[in-house]
Symmetry: C2
Subunit: 709 residues, 2 copies
């Protein structure tokens, strides 16, 4: 783990390329550091200046009079590697390269980036950038604004990591307008050395940071990221921090046209979804949501459950808030009789005493106070949304004070929505001053509370591990794979794939390759009727089209007839094909058709897909993804997560499906692809899923070997 | 159609209940009228005052010296009916009852509301309210602020109709903060007389109004509303106005537990969705969206298509905007070679010359100008989103001017998103002054443009009619229904339902009731094997459970065996059941299982549901709804709209399904339920849908008679 203290809390900084020229980046950064009241020593370095903003300047790094912790480089890219070496020689433990002209311009830039990266790695220096806006730490003990942002953001408990430098300036400007403070603010640029993972690990133990926001365009790695982020999102108490992320590029047109079901559905965005899900990261789609959620998480305790109460002075907005709560997955709390009685004591008879509680348009602050106190102490309420519309008699400021009092007197989250802009502004100001999160629209408050509930549920989830099954024959699977590899084949057709699956004790049908009718008869007798015949030939892609499949053969006569018919049809319709034989397979009773597939992502490793199989798989795209290895809970979550999960539970008088068997197939498949990195793709479609206790059966399968593409 | 001119443009107003008391509603309204510079004559009426705000006051309506057009009533509810009569006597053509205490309090209030309604209806007076905030018309020729809102909103081209009075104050306050103007602003309260439909008809021809916003909690009627709203949303040119609506209460818990598939899925919200879809109304879920869309529609021309270009000075936000555009259904325009060449002439080499066009962080206004001019004239571009992040060298104000110039020089919609709040504010001000819509976040701009595209598509849709099939035997259907009614039965089992369907030339299977094995044999010979046997008995609900179904009977022997087995099983498992006979039915080849259902809504009439049938219907809820009668285009839209529609097109080498036959089934069913209001529910599940040219087949069906519930 890299030591980022030299980045965030250096005791001295050399600013190489600091400048006096108004409007230059070198001037912006130096000014930000100096006027931002950095608590250590600044050494501007510039051969052309004697001083910058009144501070003694040094012509070269070598001439800086003291060793320094952090180097900021604002010089042309080609000069960076050598300068960085000089900084290392002067004791620098950290560096931020602001300059562009590296990987992002290709060619020579790529080589330059490799070079600075190598220098940093070798010296054990933590390097942020290149091509970034810089780094900010608002902690009063450090006050480092090593960025060319417009000024210093207010201190706060929110850290922001951005892969887009340009976005940083906008986020800081939004923050200014919204009175938002930050603990740390990091533009990670090209991530030559320090990446989001290093920063997450640092922020995990940063006492100033309570909530972590990220804007990402890609991730450096998958499973390691999941492990690190999980540790942060699921720690105990103070050790736990919510992470809220936007991953852009969700609709990139560049998704390769893949060859299998899995490939064609596993666009990279679904992989990122899987990563965020497995890491416990709250993914949002809009910048607005980033701010809304940060506000809620940074200022309020987590709700214990999903039961929300709404207090409003207007019916319509109460209904809208209710709609939004339900839509985002909250439940409306059912108020206790005692609470309703208390409300009746204080509110006029035309009020609504049930949730959403309507104190009516002419309510003054006292009525809000009574309602808030009654509702917030109801044991059936996990969180509160307070809505106010500015009617003529509404006491906006005084009501805001009552909301603050209620919030302070309780350990439940309280979110406010004073609807309007101008007339409600004085009240909103009071809420802000006292850290009661205020949202401009009821929908934002509901969405935020719902995200907090999801996070509570993540924190409270049962902890499971990756099950490692011991009852399997890894050697046999390896042999089958090696055999195909030995023949230089990447495609393992069904019979071979089944061998591998059988070795991993995945439920497969008895199958035997027959080259003569007698062998087929013998095979069928051995496994018992009914059976299926399928031609085995690498030259035949669509078996059905050439009469190469016969199903439902109930007895020897039917099988023999089918055999003869198939031979004849193959001769006619696939005359040149080299036929290895006919696969005689026990016919499975038909169950619910599911699909399990794996596609190895070149960056993130094997990604497992599970969902509704058969005809519907592509049309309905009712599938979900996880990176392997998959934990026990993860496997069960996949099953619960698809839209069709209702069919799998007890459903319209039918017994539930064997979800446990399905989860086991997912976990064993995960183990298989982790054990054999040669497996590039794997498809089981359909897997017949039967009723509880009756298991599942892989009814068709194939494996493709080779490196990930 | 009611004449609402007396409401919006009265030449004189009597304010009954006007008051001098500070803080009273009577004072608020009178002050709003007076200081809002109403252009006509005001007559305050109050027995206790000589004058109000300097205006001569009259003790009673009778003593008002002149006749007047509009009466505003701010007096206790019980006094309203008599006072309204007096107003009528004085020539009032319109009335607004502000007072509460009517239907919303139940009991006596209901009677009072009926009474004022009767007075208004009898006199032909247009009555708004009771229990409302009032009515505002900002037109300088009238300047009527007959409301107790806080002041008068700015004039503008947006009309707002709200069923929540309290929401009005918030909407006005949002509008104040967002510099939003209104043409008309109407709080419709209890809708005793004037409802949303009357207002829509009035606003249709109001020259001041370009866009209509609505907040609704319910609708007075369904098909009439659809007809009226369609006429407004789909007129030609100036005669056409977009309607944007929020319907709250989407998640009401009160949805009745219905008895059929249709009922259980057709929650009232889906009915409202159907109404809005059929009316061409853009439904939004959040108040924020209401403002965003109104901004776009009121200030920009409609895009001709869905191809959007993005110009940005920051890569990350460009990606985010792209994501949002695609997510909301837009396409990224492919720029012409000439455009790219033009961009290359003006932009530095590190720019992105393809869409999204990135002019890079150091872009000044001239670079934006060049990029905007090149892109907006590209014939492949239908609309433009301009993004700006405030970098240190960004010329925010000057760039805003260039955006304005580009917008004025083109007939394509231009939407801006200057990302931030404080540093971008001067530019945002320029955009606002020149009516270029500005959105705080890129996602809002994308969502708005997408809504405008949807509206364009609505306007350009081919116009179809409700097809009235002539080839059917209405009399035969009527007879079958009358027979069931005659026996006092509400349930029409399959055989009877099939008779009705056959009369409407819905594709049904040959079926015959057999009471003896000989009759069954004869029936089967007549229709040809394979056949199915199903027991017919009102006492047996689950036929399968008692062995009352046998399928796939290929010949007389199989049929006879099945017959004998069934008789035996029924004796054992359903000993008391009165069995009418066995239905011998031709077995349909299995097609894709669809469902068509109708449920008669007590308020809106028959609602037809179409979607994926069979096992999946409830689990996947892949269904869509429309009010009957259904036009030809509507039927086809239903088929395109379900998630599974991909399966219906040519799909993975399979031929397309017979969508035309499916649409015909939808339309004939619609005609059937319009012809026979006695049909309360109707279910065809499954309907087997075959490949193109091979039609469809209703494989199971039932009808329930009775009044809507």
């Amino acid at each position: 783990m890299k030591d980022l203290n030299a980045i965030f809390s250096p005791s001295s900084i050399a600013v190489i390329g600091a400048s006096s020229r108004e409007g230059s980046v070198g001037q912006s950064i130096f000014r930000n550091l100096l006027y931002g009241r950095y608590t250590g020593v600044l050494y501007p370095v510039n051969p052309k200046a004697r001083s910058i903003n009144g501070v003694r300047c040094y012509p070269t790094v070598a001439e800086v009079p003291d060793p320094f912790d952090l180097a900021i480089l604002i010089i042309p890219a080609p000069a960076c590697p050598q300068t960085l070496r000089e900084c290392v020689a002067r004791g620098a433990k950290g560096a931020v390269i602001i300059s562009a002209g590296f990987k992002e311009i290709g060619g020579e830039g790529v080589a330059l980036e490799e070079e600075v990266k190598a220098v940093a790695r070798e010296a054990g220096v933590a390097l942020v950038g290149p091509n970034c806006l810089g780094v900010i730490n608002t902690d009063p003990a450090a006050r480092v604004n090593a960025s060319f942002a417009v000024g210093m953001p207010a201190p706060g408990s929110i850290a922001f990591i951005s892969q887009s430098g340009a976005l940083c300036t906008s986020v800081l400007d939004y923050a200014k307008g919204l009175d938002f403070g930050f603990s740390k603010f990091i533009s990670i640029g090209n991530k030559a050395d320090v990446n989001e993972l290093d920063l997450l690990r640092y922020l995990h133990h940063d006492p100033e940071t309570r909530v972590i926001l990220m804007y990402l365009e890609d991730l450096a790695n998958g499973y390691e990221f999941i492990q690190a982020a999980r540790a942060i999102t699921s720690g105990e108490g103070e050790d736990r921090k919510p992470i809220i992320a936007i991953k852009s590029g969700t609709t990139a047109q560049g998704a390769k046209a893949a060859s299998s079901h899995t490939g064609s559905l596993a666009s990279s965005d679904e992989v990122y979804d899987a990563i965020f899900t497995q890491a416990g990261i709250l993914r949002v789609e809009r910048i607005e949501d980033l701010f809304d959620l940060a506000l809620g998480f940074s200022q309020q305790p987590l709700p214990r459950g999903r039961r929300v109460a709404i207090v409003t002075n207007a019916g319509g907005p109460g209904i809208m808030a209710t709609d939004a709560c339900i839509r985002y997955g909250l439940e409306l709390a059912h108020l206790e009789e005692a609470t309703v009685a208390e409300l009746k004591r204080h509110l006029p008879p035309t009020s609504n005493f049930n949730n959403p509680v309507d104190v009516i348009g002419d309510a003054k602050a006292d009525r809000y106070e009574a309602a808030l106190n009654a509702v917030i102490h109801d044991p059936g309420v996990d969180g509160l949304i307070v809505i106010l519309t500015p009617q003529s008699m509404t006491e906006v400021t005084e009501t805001a004070r009552k909301v603050v009092e209620a919030e302070k007197a309780s350990d439940k989250p309280v979110l406010a929505n004073f609807m309007g802009i101008v007339d409600v502004s004085a009240g909103v100001e009071v809420l802000k001053q006292h850290d009661v999160p205020h949202f401009m629209f009821p929908e934002s408050a509901a969405k935020t509370l719902a995200a907090m509930v999801r996070y509570t549920e993540w924190c409270n989830r049962p902890r499971t591990t990756v099950m490692l099954f011991q009852d399997l024959d890894r050697e046999a699977a390896g042999k089958a794979i090696a055999a195909a590899e030995g023949e230089g084949r990447s495609h393992m057709p069904e019979l071979e794939a089944l061998e591998v699956f059988r070795a991993y004790r995945l439920p497969t049908l008895p199958s035997r390759l027959a080259t003569t009718a007698d062998e087929a008869l013998e095979a069928a007798e051995g496994m018992g009727y009914p059976v299926v015949l399928k031609v085995v030939s690498a030259d035949i892609v669509h078996k059905l089209d050439v009469g190469g499949v016969a199903v439902g053969l109930e007895n020897p006569t039917e099988m023999l007839n089918a055999w003869i018919k198939m031979q004849k049809s193959l001769k006619e319709k696939a005359p040149g094909a080299r036929v290895l034989g006919i696969n005689v397979q026990k016919m499975a009773p038909k169950g619910l058709e599911m699909i399990v597939g794996v596609n190895r992502n070149p960056k993130f490793g094997p990604v497992l897909m599970f969902g509704l199989g058969g005809t519907y798989v592509e049309a309905l795209q009712d599938v979900t993804f996880r990176l392997c290895p998959i934990r026990e809970l993860g496997a069960h979550h996949m099953i619960e997560q698809i839209r069709a999960s209702r069919i799998l539970g007890p459903f319209r008088g039918k017994r539930a499906k064997d979800k446990r068997a399905m989860a086991e197939i997912i976990m064993r498949t995960s183990q298989l692809v982790m054990d054999f990195p040669q497996i590039r793709e794997l498809d089981m479609n359909p897997v017949f899923l039967y009723e509880e206790g009756e298991g599942a059966m892989v009814a068709d399968a194939r494996i493709i070997l080779g490196p990930a593409e």
